[in-house]
Symmetry: C2
């Protein structure tokens, strides 16, 4: 039952949920379910391949439900200031072509069996960009105290 409850919750949850987030959602509805079970279930689902685990560098593990056709393409924009994560799927066709090529070369050269790949673009999101400009301005002009 816990596993079903967790799966149900993460189907509704937003993308890139953390373990803690999911635990809160599940625990509110099923107070008997503990944190350890959430961890264990997520690991299990990961092994089965129903979800993917990511690490975006903020110290939390994040997960993503494995649905849709492109299950081994995982591309994210990550704001290095606020940690916001944006999914994208632009230019998948062309990127896929290059990646296939790359995977072929690499797997032969290094005898490496490639299962999946992920690309992270690091930078500043819209909000943090404008925040930064604001503070730069005030610093430069000496206004706003």
């Amino acid at each position: 039952m816990p596993r079903q409850a967790i799966l149900e919750a993460l189907r509704k949850a937003n993308k890139h949920f953390s373990t803690e987030e999911l635990y809160h959602v599940v625990h509110k509805k099923y107070p008997a379910i503990g944190l350890a079970t959430v961890y264990r279930t997520l690991e299990l689902l990961c092994q089965i391949g129903l979800i993917f685990k990511f690490d975006f560098g903020d110290g939390l593990s994040r997960y993503e439900l494995a649905v849709g056709p492109d299950q081994n393409h995982h591309h994210h924009l990550i704001c290095t200031t606020c940690g916001r994560i944006i999914d994208f799927s632009e230019l998948v066709e062309e990127e896929t072509r290059v990646t296939r090529e790359l995977e072929n070369v690499l797997s032969k050269k290094y005898n490496f069996k490639i299962d999946s790949h992920q690309t992270h673009f690091l930078g500043l999101c819209e909000k943090c960009l404008s925040d930064l400009k604001g503070s730069d301005l005030s610093a430069a002009t000496g206004t706003l105290k």
Copy 2:
């Protein structure tokens, strides 16, 4: 002085050193230098841009010295079984072209200032692959006890 010692050490260190690894190297030569300073210095060097920080999913932060011409291209093969990390730079030209294109589209669409990107290929390295085949064989044939 500690910072120089740390920089010196990481110039000699192998790629993808962890904080702990670096601490051991530095501490052996300069026993007065503590772990906290290594952490602090690595963070500092990261902000300055002298090193890059990576997270390959094994719970440790890894660093890479920022030298060479392609400083915003970071591509790795990561073995999901033993954690081995392989650097590669094949097909950089073509991959760069596609990536530039992607970055243009993305930064416009999401108002996102992209500073760098990294691509991780996940799978099995040569050794783990052969280990796996070995155990499969023995399991299938029932040999080797």
